[in-house]
Structures are given as structure tokens and as C-alpha cells.
């Protein structure tokens, strides 16, 4: 069996997945639309930077991905696919409710100023300045954004020795890292205030933000980034025939598939922040989970179908395509049976859920291996 795994996405999440897979001695084909982050040099790794997937065929054990990467086209044969595209961060100007003003900055701009030797804009960092950091200003910041913003607030306090306050709605402390970070910050004199549902007011005298105990006045307001699913998620989901959730992240929010990182198709797995809100530590653990999913799949000598699977009676089939539309696992396709064309179940891809059989208008599909006794099955009445 071919043991190449295709990893899709140029994010840090994908980097961790690649690392995990290489450590388990799988061959990896790493495809990203951008330049790929540095990765361990390895004979097992083939990188396809600045490439996009243009077509996908096959099923678990034998996927074929076609890439369009100017100037040449490439084809990858992979036994399994891991999607790890990451998420995207909205630029600060994306929401008109945040006033555009030199006193209002993104964390990224502040980080640049912090490392620059001198002030860049007109507002000088000075000891008497009061810098406000806002989490969850308009909507909940993602977990990683919270970690980064808090770290940045602490670094600002340490570097500029200025007054620092943090505004939040519900302070996230549910990991070792965050709890110890917020503790250190409080010990250093950084003050935390709970945001009220009001937008900041900015004028030449400063920024003014309402919080639970009054109004906080500061000189600069630094706003934590907002994370969103990547805008090209839908396109890739379409090519791979996997589901997107109502919120635009990969896979519906379903308790049986969410944290194990399963997609609706066999052999396609999800890792990191394209399906999950996580900080770096969480995304790393998720990468290990994705690699484990693959290792369990490919650890078998040869792939076995489930004990119960669907089978189409090609002579009964009227090619209405109902089963292709209803199969939640994209396991049915049209195929040629000698002279005739009819629906065909891809055995390795079938979960045996029976949705196709129960929906077929002419009862052309039977479930192989099912133990429903004859007395319940026989067409009697109707």
C-alpha cells in the first residue's frame, strides 16, 4: 500500500503535522498556497509551495490530487489527506465600528513599535503613558490571540515601563499557560477590567473605554485580532467533498467527529485551527491526534471495509442520483457496469449508515452484512 500522506495548508499547524508524520516515517507531500514554513529536511518530505489543489479523485488508500502550480502541474498519489490550513486574522480596519485613529492599533503594529529602536508615529512611548489592551472588543478573540495579546501586554509593560491595563469580557484562564500568565501580569501591577458593552471613544485627549467600574482613559488602545475561517476553506471543502460547518470552519460541529478531528470522509482528517479554536499548545496536540488517526489507518496491512456496507443492484438502479446526494460520507459515485451505468458504492469509503438504501426510490440498494432479521425487512404491506 502507498503510504504517502498529503498535508494541505501552509500554516504552522501544518508544519507540526508534517513533523509528526515524518517522525512516524511516513512520506509526506506538503502543499501550500503560500511559501511553506521551514521544515525539517527529510527524504520523506516533498514540498509543493505556492500550489493549489485543482482536482481530487479516488478514495481512502488511493487519493489522487492534481495541483496547479505554475509553471508545471503536479500529481500526488496519497493514501490519506490531512487538512491543516489554519485560520485567518482580520485586519483592524475590517470592522467599521472600531474608530480609525492613530491611537488605535492592532497588536501587530504595537509589536513592531515595541521592537523598533525609536518611536515610529507621532505618539512617543513614555513612562507616563497608559496603554489599554482590549480582548474580545467586538467578538471573542480566538484562544491564540488571547495568549499573544496578554504576552504582548506584559512585554510592553516590561519594555516601556508604562501603565498597562487589560480589558476583557470573560477572561480565558482555562489552560496552565493562561492562568500563570495572568497571575504574573497582576503581580507586575497590570490591571484587568471587565468591558462594558460600549465602543471605545477616541479623541485628541486619548482613548476612553467603559468598563464595569467606570471609564478607563488611556493614550493608546491595542485591539486583539479577530480570527475567522480562511476564505478559501469552502473551495477546498468542495474539491475534497468534505463538509463545512455553519460557522465556516471545516466539518459540522458534531461531537463524534469534532475533537477526534475526523471529516465526513474516510481517509481525510482535520488538524489545527481550520476546524478548532486553539492556542499553539492545543494545535500541536491536535497535530499529534491527526497523525495518530493516519497511523491507525495506515498501520493496517491492507484496508478493510466496514462490516456493514451498502451495495447497489445495478440492474434496478434508475440513476436518479438520490443516493449520491444523500450519502453523508461521499461514498457513492456513478460507474459503468459493463454496458450500463449505475450508482456504485465505494466499499472502502462506506460507513454502512444505510441512508442511501432507505432513500433509494426503487430499493436498488441493499445493506451487506446487516443483521436486521428477515421478518423486519421483507416488503409486506404497502
Amino acid at each position: 500500500m502507498n503510504k504517502t500522506v498529503a498535508v494541505l495548508g501552509g500554516s504552522a499547524d501544518a508544519g507540526w503535522v508534517v513533523e509528526e508524520l515524518l517522525a512516524l516515517s511516513y512520506s509526506v507531500a506538503w502543499v501550500g498556497q503560500e511559501d511553506l514554513p521551514d521544515s525539517p529536511r527529510s527524504d520523506g518530505l516533498r514540498a509543493y509551495p505556492r500550489s493549489r489543489v485543482s482536482a481530487v479523485s479516488g478514495c481512502v488508500g488511493s487519493f489522487r490530487l492534481e495541483l496547479s502550480a505554475p509553471p508545471e502541474r503536479a500529481v500526488i498519489d496519497a493514501a490519506a489527506i490531512i487538512v491543516a490550513m489554519g485560520n485567518q486574522r482580520l485586519p483592524l480596519g475590517a470592522d467599521a465600528r472600531i474608530p480609525a485613529h492613530p491611537r488605535v492599533l492592532s497588536t501587530q503594529v504595537l509589536a513592531e513599535r515595541l521592537s523598533a529602536p525609536r518611536q515610529i508615529s507621532g505618539i512617543a512611548p513614555a513612562q507616563r503613558q497608559h496603554i489599554l489592551f482590549a480582548l474580545d472588543m467586538l467578538e471573542l478573540s480566538g484562544k491564540q490571540a488571547v495568549v499573544e495579546t496578554l504576552e504582548l501586554a506584559l512585554r510592553t509593560h516590561d519594555t516601556w515601563h508604562c501603565e498597562v491595563s487589560v480589558l476583557y469580557r470573560e477572561l480565558q484562564v482555562d489552560s496552565d499557560l493562561l492562568e500563570s500568565l495572568t497571575r504574573t501580569m497582576r503581580e507586575q501591577g497590570i490591571v484587568f477590567h471587565r468591558l462594558q458593552d460600549a465602543l471605545p471613544v477616541v479623541d485628541d485627549s486619548g482613548v476612553h473605554v467603559k468598563h464595569a467600574d467606570g471609564v478607563l482613559d488611556g493614550d493608546l488602545l491595542v485591539i486583539a485580532p479577530v480570527v475567522r475561517p480562511r476564505s478559501d476553506s469552502a473551495e477546498l471543502a468542495g474539491l475534497l467533498r468534505i463538509a463545512l460547518g455553519a460557522d465556516g470552519y471545516f466539518q459540522q460541529l458534531n461531537v463524534r467527529s469534532y475533537r477526534p478531528g475526523l471529516s465526513n470522509r474516510k481517509g481525510i482528517y482535520l488538524a489545527g485551527r481550520c476546524h478548532l479554536d486553539a492556542d499553539d499548545a492545543g494545535a500541536r496536540a491536535d497535530a499529534a491526534q491527526a497523525a495518530a488517526n493516519v497511523a491507525i489507518l495506515l498501520g493496517q496491512d491492507h484496508l478493510q471495509p466496514e462490516t456493514v456496507i451498502a451495495e447497489v443492484g445495478s440492474t434496478k438502479c434508475i440513476r436518479c442520483l438520490t443516493c449520491i446526494r444523500t450519502c453523508p460520507h461521499a461514498a457513492v459515485e456513478l460507474a459503468a457496469y459493463g454496458q450500463v451505468t449505475a450508482a456504485k458504492v465505494v466499499e472502502l469509503a462506506c460507513f454502512g449508515c444505510g441512508a442511501c438504501a432507505a432513500n433509494c426510490p426503487v430499493r436498488a440498494i441493499t445493506m451487506k452484512g446487516i443483521d436486521v432479521p428477515v421478518w423486519l425487512q421483507e416488503a409486506a404491506l404497502v
Binding site: 471573542l140 492562568e179 470552519y249 461531537v255 476546524h275 491536535d286 499529534a288 495518530a292
Partner: protein, 346 residues
């Protein structure tokens, strides 16, 4: 990987998930559970679906894994058993498997600790009156009762006002209990919604510090607010028996909006207790020779590896986690263990 075996201490969901992962990849596992059943604390987690909609509590992830591990030929389950005397012996560890006072000498190439957690005893928070006031219960009690008696147990109770108090026994730096238990916000908000849906005449108030909402599955908090569940910032100072009605509890709390102390009365008070290290965690750490962090959880170096090579931790014995997070962590522990075996087996 033939002739390698790993011993996993603890058959809760973490131990089971780690065992499944290793076995499916050809590693033989001895899964050692002290109780007569697998499952650990997850056996008390109830279903919190409301109005036909799952709330992603994670309860559904357990049963099929427990059954799968029993059917796995490479996993030997030892119930009502524990292990003692772990000694590194070259590349392996020797230990004694103790089943009902019968000792058996065994060895393993690696060890995974998955011994889980103890429920926080709500009596440690004396002013809340747990144990003395009958209308004060814990989240653990409520989960257990819903699981054992069914989702309808609170339907007929005449509950006009119910309060949840968060962080009971957690996030209390002065008592050296500065950790967040991570699960109690999630289960309390979900239980509150369940109660609200099953008994619409009940008014529900949640006293909290910060609701831990991050993540894609955080709609429960938003929905709870829409459904009229009241969230109050700040935890009550004391819970007493009401002077007007002895069946009720009176909660004294600092109202942030008015800046004054207020008293409200409730028919039922649920203390959202969380996760603490097992009472015998020190003993386990000494048996294994590994370190603990300042709160008493096993201290990991990097994800799941402990301070001695070849010994790993999975799930709540290392840090508080939910079921799904425990499964992910256990999988990562199994991964790290598998890689360790690869490097140490020629």
C-alpha cells in the same frame, strides 16, 4: 512492534484512549484499573442535550471506546487491580501487578499514568454550607443523579429559583488552589440550560468569575444568555438557611451594579466543583519517581512526557481537562510513547 508491552495505570477514558491507540498500532498493553469497571469519572457524566440538540458535552465519546478496548486482542484489562514497585531495569520497567492481594511480577517497556482526578470536596468551602444545608448540592451530585435516574429527575421538583456558584474549590490562590478546573463552567452552563428547558418556570442564576467560553463549541454560553439565564459577576460570600423559609437558601453577594451587598433566596444551590489531584497522587508520583507541579498534578516536560524517560502521563492526572481533551491528550501521550518505543527497540 512485537514483544513490546506498555502498562497503563488507570482505566478511565484517558487510559482507554491511550490503550486503543497503542493496540491499534501493534503494541501490547496491560490496562490496570483499580475499580471493578472501566470508565472512571466519566461514568457519572450525564447527557445534557436540550430540545433535541446535543450540547457537545463529550459524554457520547465514552461508551464505544470502552467497548472497543475490551474487544481489542492486544489489550489485557486487569480490573480491581493496581501496580506497585515500579523499577527501571535497563530499557524496561519491572513492576508488580496486584489483583485482590495476589501479586504478580511483570515488566513493560514504557509506562503511561492515567490515574485521573478526585472531585473537589465542596466542604473545603465551608461558608457555602455543603453537607449542612440540604438544598446545597454539587455539580457532581447533579450529574450523578441525572445519569443514574434519567433526565426527568428534576422535572417534578418545584424549583422556582436555582443558583449555580462557579469555581468552588478552584481558582483560589490563597488556599493554594490556584488552578482553573476547566470543566465546571462548561458543565454548569449546560446543566443550567438543561434544567431551564425541562422546567421553564425555573429562574436560573449563575454566579461566576469568568465563564470559560473559548472554542468553537462555545455557543452554549451565548444560548444560555439568550434563554434568560442570569449571569452575575462575583461569587457569593456565604450561603445560609433562609430566615423566612427554612427550605430555602439565602445567598449573600456583592452586587457589582449597585456596589452593595444583597441577599437572594434560592430553592436549590449547585456548587460547581471541579477537579483536584487524586488523594494518592503523591504516592503514585513516588512509586513512579516522577515530579509533580505546585498544585500536585503530575508535572510534564513537554506535552505528555514526565521527568523520567519512558514514563508518560495522559488526561486529568496531568492537568484538568474535559473528556474530548483527555482523549486528545491521551492520544498524544500514546504517540510520544510509541515514538519512544521506536527509538528504544532495535
Amino acid at each position: 512492534m512485537p514483544n513490546t508491552s506498555v502498562v497503563i495505570i488507570g482505566g478511565g477514558i484517558s487510559g482507554v484512549a491511550a490503550a486503543l491507540n497503542l493496540a491499534q498500532r501493534g503494541v501490547a498493553v496491560d490496562l490496570v484499573e483499580r475499580e471493578p469497571r472501566l470508565g472512571g469519572n466519566t461514568l457519572d457524566v450525564c447527557c445534557k442535550a436540550v430540545n433535541g440538540q446535543c450540547q457537545h458535552c463529550g459524554g457520547c465519546l465514552v461508551a464505544e471506546r470502552l467497548r472497543a478496548v475490551c474487544a481489542e486482542p492486544l489489550v489485557t484489562v486487569h480490573l480491581s487491580s493496581t501496580i506497585t514497585n515500579i523499577q527501571p531495569a535497563g530499557d524496561t520497567f519491572s513492576y508488580q501487578l496486584v489483583t485482590a492481594n495476589v501479586k504478580q511480577a511483570k515488566s513493560a517497556r514504557a509506562v503511561i499514568a492515567a490515574t485521573g482526578f478526585d472531585h473537589i470536596d465542596a466542604r473545603t468551602k465551608g461558608p457555602y454550607g455543603y453537607g449542612a444545608l440540604s438544598m446545597v448540592i454539587t455539580g457532581e451530585d447533579m450529574e450523578r443523579r441525572l445519569r443514574a435516574e434519567g433526565q426527568s429527575v428534576y422535572d417534578c421538583a418545584v424549583l422556582r429559583d436555582v443558583a449555580f456558584i462557579q469555581c468552588v474549590g478552584s481558582r483560589d490562590e490563597h488556599a493554594n488552589r490556584g488552578w482553573c478546573s476547566q470543566v465546571c463552567c462548561r458543565y454548569a452552563v449546560r446543566l443550567a440550560r438543561l434544567l431551564g428547558a425541562r422546567s421553564p418556570q425555573t429562574n436560573i442564576t449563575i454566579f461566576k468569575m469568568d465563564i470559560q467560553t473559548a472554542g468553537r463549541d462555545s455557543q452554549a454560553f451565548a444560548l444560555a444568555q439568550q434563554e434568560g439565564i442570569r449571569f452575575i459577576c462575583g461569587l457569593p460570600a456565604v450561603v445560609r438557611r433562609s430566615e423566612k423559609d427554612s427550605a430555602k437558601a439565602a445567598l449573600l453577594f456583592d452586587d457589582i451594579n449597585t456596589g452593595q451587598f444583597r441577599t437572594n433566596e434560592f430553592d436549590l444551590v449547585v456548587l460547581a466543583t471541579g477537579i483536584e489531584p487524586r488523594s494518592d497522587a503523591l504516592q503514585l508520583a513516588e512509586t513512579l519517581g516522577v515530579e509533580r507541579n505546585r498544585f500536585g498534578f503530575l508535572a510534564s516536560q513537554d506535552g505528555a512526557a514526565l521527568s523520567i524517560p519512558g514514563i508518560f502521563a495522559a488526561g486529568c492526572c496531568q492537568s484538568p481537562r474535559s473528556i474530548s481533551e483527555s482523549i486528545v491528550h491521551a492520544t498524544a501521550a500514546a504517540e510520544a510513547c510509541y515514538r519512544y518505543l521506536q527509538e528504544h527497540t532495535q
